[in-house]
Amino acid sequence: MNNRLKVLRAERDWSQSDLADRLAVSRQSVNAIETGKYDPSLPLAFRIAELFALPIEDIFTSPTKG
């Protein structure tokens, strides 16, 4: 699933490790989500959205639209 995670992270000057620490996940998880190799669960997607203070659909592109 395409997403804007890398852009949002770069805007805040966070490394993958910084974001991983804030989400309490591994750096590999952040990398896998950013590269579209892994789609996060709904609870994790909500945690990401809340961290960036954005609606989920502003971060993740719906597979039917992307």
Partner: protein
Amino acid sequence: MRMNLAQKRYVRRVFVSMASYLLTLSIALHYVGNGHVTGPLAYLLALLPGLSVIGVFWAVGRLLVEEQDEFQRMLLVRQSLVATAFALSIATVWGFLEAVGLVPHVDAYFIAILWFAGLGVGSLVNWLTLGTTGGCR
């Protein structure tokens, strides 16, 4: 490499299980293998190494339950499924070949060894398909 709490527990559990395995195996081989002990005690001593290996399976199961990082958990699930398919496939094919006398007999505990080797294959599959073997943060 940083390990999370679940991974630290896993390492500790595997270490204890393997230490128990080495100890109980040497005891079983010495006392039962050399015929120093017979009867029910011999059965008990001979069971202990196998129970220790079960401890490793339990540790893997607990890691699956306790791992809070969902991506790491998915990697471990995939790794375990590949290991199971690897071990069962070889054991099944070998069993039929053995039944018709084409290959020598192999002790059943080798299935566990195959499963542990299969974890390595599963790790390779994760690396080839997802770019990471997981494990640590």
